[in-house]
Each structure stands twice: as structure tokens, then as C-alpha cells.
Symmetry: C2
DNA sequence: CTATGTGAATTTATTCACAGCA
DNA sequence: TGCTGTGAATAAATTCACATAG
């Protein structure tokens, strides 16, 4: 909306877009303070800034990718990170044939260099390695100071409480569909 | 647990595993009926069957993949579908260089053949095409009788009410991490 | 003695309705 | 007049506590 030159948006606009009710939008915002203008709506720039702050997206974050196979390559090519002010700042693999190769704007590094992440102030990582190596990779990442992990392996990963893991299990997401599909 | 030869599991076991409370497990199950044995717990085979039924996972489902790029290839190689009794039964691409090529156990078909899905009784699809073609692909899938779509493009897809779409936005999932990470 | 299943109590979330500001 | 922000009312989910079954 901001890119389209719009200046303000009402709770009703937002509600329609998201498929919820207007009062729900207002009530939710109100828990974090009052940042709208009665009779007008919410200033779009200001609202975006507030929401980013609430979601802790107000500092630009760098993420490392571990595993540059098919899935990892797809992550590197993913066009959607910019909108959240994220960037993939490093890519690692353990395959000697890949190490040193360029992939987009990044050079693939040896997985044994993961410990440099702390020095480079990279605190997020994406795990796109085979299931067998997922837990090992996670352990190494935690030692390297990583505090948030996005895990694409279909397995449970154990980490210290200070670290947050979000696992994306493609099969499980596919399996959610039938529940919402009408019979026949 | 079943594969490990265990026969029964208590609400407390399950709760520990999932990180919730035992009464929550029992209450949730109770909404769908009573299928435990007091003093013993839940029969594992029976429970799995019940849960699959509740989640509409009791019939084996076939899914089609559209877009065999990096992400699509990763989906084909994904080892986790079996546990939900799912299989990828067809793969499509619009790139002439890919059509006809084998990819694992599947031969890549021309996207213009998507309409054969109805005849082949495939009612689920995974969209792994570039963002620009996502809506078009979805429209074609809906015409071909598909009722559930797993969308990997970072964009909103509009479909008739009878069709369920689940969108996985990798960037958004990554962006969820900072909220749960302690400061510094 | 152990573990389920469920009413009742409690807590939390949603919805309403409207006062008040631009 | 249009839209926000919020107390109050309603609805829903969670937690407790215990009767009951193996």
C-alpha cells in the first residue's frame, strides 16, 4: 500500500484483506498502544514501523544457510526475504565439490567454518541438510551463537531453551489440506 | 512408538513429548469420543487410526507437483510423505527441456496436461513455480478438479471457496524467529 | 493403584456497543 | 460523518478435581 502511494488504511480495509473482522484488528492493535487517528485510520508508514517493532523485525537480520542442495538453492533464489528486511549472508555445505563455488551473490563455504558465524554477527540459520545431519548441524549452529533456526528436515530437533526452532515439514503441511476439503 | 513395539501410551507420555499438559490431551481427545483404557492408556494402533480419521488422513491421497525447479526437485526428494500415506503421483513443468525427463520414479509431464488430473483422481497439488505464474497455475489446477493446494510462492492466491490453499512463505517463517529470541 | 473421561471453575479471547476525536 | 479505542457482555478454551474403569 505504501508503494502504491497510499497514506492511510482503516481497520475495515485491513480486516477485508485478511478475512477477519474490523473490531478484531482494532482490539489487537490496542493491546500494544493507540496509533490510529479517529475518522481517518492508521498512517501506513507508522503502522508498518509499529508492527515491525512488535514482531522484533525492526533491526535488519542476517541469516546463514546450511546445505546448498535443491532445497538450499531454492532458498537462495527465494524472492521474498526483502520485505522483512532479511538477507541470506552466508551459505555452507560439506560437499567439497560445492565449496568455493559461487551461488548467486554468495560463495559457498565449508561447513567446518560455521563457527565464524558468531564473529560475523549472524544469529539466524536455515537448515536444509539431509535429515540424518540435521541434529548435528543444529548443535554446531548453537555453539556458533545462533539463536533462531528454521529447520526444513522432517525431524524433531533438540536445542537449549534459549534457542528457538521453527520446523517446516512439507509433508505435514500437505497433510493438513484434506481436513479442510469437503468430501467427495 | 508402534515401530518400536510399544502397545500403549498414556496422556502423560504424549503430553511430555509434545510439551503440553496431560489433561489437555485427554480433553481434546474426549471431544471426538472415548478411545482410551482407564488404568492403561491409549492403544497406539487404535489411537493412530482414530487421529488419522479425525484429520481426514484415512484414505491414501495422491498429489501432483507443478514446477520441477530447485524447490520442486526438493519436494520430490522429500523423505517425509510416507508417514501420512501420501504420494507424489505426477510432476509437471512448462520447460520443454525438462518435459519427458525422468526425475526419481516420475516422468515430468507438460503443464498443458494438467487437465488430466481429474481423470487420474488427483485432488491435491503443490505449486512450486515462479511467483508470476502461481495464480495462473492455481486457476488451471482448480479447473482440473484439484481441491487442495500447497503453495510455495510468496503471494496471495485467489481460489473458489470450495478449494483450500495453504501458503508456505519461507521468508515469513524466518521472520517469525526474532519474536521468540531473547534480546542481544 | 493407575490412568481415563468429564462436569465445574477459572481464565482467556472474541464480540459488541458506544463515547470521543478529526 | 467516519473511524478509533476500549469498557462491558458474551463466548470459548483451559485447568482443575474427581468419579469411575481396568
Amino acid at each position: 500500500m505504501s508503494e502504491e502511494g497510499r497514506k492511510s488504511v482503516s481497520s475495515h480495509n485491513l480486516a477485508d484483506f485478511l478475512g477477519v473482522n474490523a473490531w478484531q484488528i482494532r482490539k489487537d492493535f490496542s493491546y500494544f498502544g493507540a496509533f490510529g487517528t479517529p475518522g481517518v485510520g492508521y498512517n501506513i508508514e507508522k503502522l508498518a514501523k509499529q508492527v515491525k517493532k512488535i514482531l522484533k523485525l525492526d533491526v535488519i537480520k542476517k541469516a546463514a544457510l546450511v546445505g546448498v542442495g535443491n532445497l538450499g538453492s531454492a532458498v537462495l533464489a527465494y524472492p521474498g526475504f526483502g520485505i522483512y528486511d532479511f538477507s541470506i549472508a552466508a551459505a555452507f555445505d560439506s560437499d567439497p565439490k560445492k565449496i568455493g563455488r559461487k551461488k548467486g551473490y554468495l560463495t559457498i563455504e565449508d561447513s567446518s567454518k560455521l563457527r565464524t558465524l558468531k564473529r560475523r554477527r549472524i544469529s539466524l540459520a536455515i537448515i536444509a541438510v539431509p535429515r540424518e545431519s540435521a541434529q548435528n548441524t543444529a548443535d554446531t549452529l548453537v555453539k556458533a551463537g545462533v539463536r533462531g533456526i528454521l529447520n526444513f528436515s522432517p525431524c524433531h530437533i533438540t536445542v537449549p531453551k534459549k534457542v528457538k526452532v521453527i520446523t517446516i515439514d512439507i509433508a505435514m503441511d500437505l497433510a493438513r489440506l484434506p481436513y479442510y476439503m469437503p468430501a467427495n
